[in-house]
Symmetry: C2
Subunit: 99 residues, 2 copies
């Protein structure tokens, strides 16, 4: 069940940490990953590029790109960062998107 659904059903889910009741450090990591996934999707869309196109650029697959943008736990921050850089984002921009 997704957060959206929960909220639609009347739940109030403030943040991911509380939702999954993670330790503070696990929470910080997960939230950073979430920020990266959003940044990735935003940047890709802003460039009018499809998941298939991005996949080709990074020599991966559409499904993996989808998982990155969904912050799936089978995906590493490394791959997300590489993707952002492959989309032409500078270090400053990436840091800014996380800031």
């Amino acid at each position: 069940m997704q957060r959206k659904n929960l909220e639609a059903n009347g739940w109030k889910v403030s943040d991911t940490a509380e939702f999954l009741n993670l330790s503070p450090e696990e929470a910080a990591y997960v939230e950073l990953k979430l920020a990266l996934s959003k940044a990735l999707q935003e940047l890709r869309k802003s460039k009018k590029i499809t998941q298939v196109d991005l996949a080709k650029r990074i020599k991966s697959s559409q499904s993996r790109v989808a998982k990155m943008e969904a912050a799936d736990n089978s995906v590493t921050v490394d791959l997300m960062l590489r993707s952002l850089f492959a989309l032409g984002a500078s270090r400053k921009k990436v840091v800014g998107m996380l800031g």
Copy 2:
């Protein structure tokens, strides 16, 4: 051979990208990793903690911590981020160290 040695021998190595002649996106990724490794070592030392101690905190091993701080290519950004958070760094602090 390390950069230090090269420089001691008279080479001028300006940055990692040039040194390893990486593509811009590979370079950005490697340099981010380098920044993380430095941040990790600095934070650990500032807390007067040994590699062994940090290893225990993150349920890893001294050798892996050493490799993180050396930005070894057998280590992921994920592990480095988890380590920074385990040392009590906030997201803001981590981002700041990268900025």
